[in-house]
Amino acid sequence: MLDDLKLSNAQIAWRAAQDIADGAYVNLGIGFPEMVAQYTVEGRTPIFHTENGILNFGQAPAPGEEDWDMINAGKKAVTLKPGASFFHHADSFAMVRGGHLDVAILGALQVAQTGDLANWRVGNKGVPAVGGAMDLVHGAKRVAVLTDHVTKKGEPKLVESCTFPLTGVACVTRIYTSLAVVDIEDGHFVLREKLAGISMEDLQSVTGAPLHTDGEVGDLIVPAL
């Protein structure tokens, strides 16, 4: 049933984009979070940061037009917008660690009600790779997560405490899922919006820790995408 109701990744990204203010400095994690840029709200011009040293990059160039010296952290070719700048890695992570980004939007394997995030490694097999994830979770004024509400096996991704290796402790402030928008406040999940078609009980049953409310729970309404 949830599979019929739930938002697509594009719709989750769209919802996250609604919360990005005009002029905000934003870092989008590699992969799914990068989709958020496509749904920038009309009339707003966020400035996108990439760890490898560009502020205010834009869309991918047309195929064949790539310059591989102008890439983002996902190693995809990008273009520049007017007012862009290049800088080295220490300056780039000064922006991150120094709290200069307004928002970082990341993917998640698990998010705990304490705000702990696990998103870099499932276990201890294979080659570990961390990139900039552990920096980004401590950098932005607001750290948001995009994620399916449950795993492919139907297990909660919003949990009491993470079982996968942590990326950071008490760092996430908002979660955009395929079913809901959940804030993290004082070590609790606080439900802000949910799909109208799902009951509180059903939502709680696929969430690994108590969903609190604080005033009215809004309807999570997104366009068809």
Binding site: I47, I54, L55, G83, S85, M95, H138
Partner: protein, 235 residues
């Protein structure tokens, strides 16, 4: 996005009593005289001011001190060409001084902007300026632990700014300014020329716009050294 403001008064608005203010400049180079004088006009009290020096002559930071607005200076060298304003108040016990070695001052400000709460440096080890600071030993050598420096506001003089806040500087007027721009909650810039986004080559941006909040164009900025040599005064 347009970070320009209408004038100097708006640029320095909101700097209240007790604020900590970083001010760019070294010697006469890079001091944002017009912003400092606008701040004197605004008149907040009990400021903590961070600059390499402690003002010269009767203009700029010296005038700010003369106006009785500065509670404390954090600097490396409060003895420049004509430091009377600071010297008089300091010897009278009317102004506090936190003396910081110049490189440590620069690194503490950079650390503030970069989210590094503390670091170790060989500088000042074994001297009175390390008194009371934690000592760490690395690879058999002792180092002094220093803390980041942040500010509520930074006042910066740039050469060119675009409206998004990307900045370039002029020669050795660069000095502490790119660091201070990163370490203040609100960074206020006076630029000799303001251009549209795209007006600065992305390769040549020294301060990326993310560190800048307000920009005011001052097309013919005063140079502190020139003012001092001319015997100018704020009043």
């Amino acid at each position: 996005m347009d970070k320009t403001v209408s004038g100097l008064a708006e640029a320095v608005s909101g700097i209240g009593d007790g604020a900590t203010v970083m001010i760019g400049g070294f010697g006469g180079a890079g001091n944002p005289i017009e912003l400092i004088h606008a701040l004197i006009d605004a008149g907040p009290k009990n400021l903590t001011v961070i600059n390499n020096n402690a003002g010269n002559g009767q203009i700029g930071i010296a005038a700010l001190i003369d106006a009785g607005m500065v509670k404390k200076m954090i600097c490396s060298f409060p003895k420049s060409s004509d430091p009377r304003a600071f010297t008089d108040r300091y010897l009278a016990g009317e102004i506090e001084l936190e003396l910081v070695p110049q490189g440590t001052l620069a690194e503490r400000i950079r650390a503030g902007g970069a989210g590094i709460p503390a670091f170790y440096t060989p500088t000042s080890y074994g001297t009175e300026l390390a008194d009371g600071k934690p000592i760490g030993e690395f690879d058999g050598r002792p180092y002094v632990q220093e803390r980041w420096l942040k500010a509520d506001f930074a006042l910066i003089k740039a050469e060119v700014a675009d409206t998004m806040g990307n900045l370039t500087y002029r020669m050795a007027a660069r000095n502490f300014s790119p660091l201070m721009a990163t370490a203040a909650a609100t960074t206020i810039v006076q630029a000799t020329r303001v251009v549209a986004p795209g007006g600065i080559d992305p390769e040549q941006v020294i301060t990326p716009g993310i560190f800048v909040n307000r920009i005011v164009e001052v097309t013919e900025p005063k140079q502190e050294e020139d003012l001092i040599r001319a015997g100018a005064s704020y009043a």
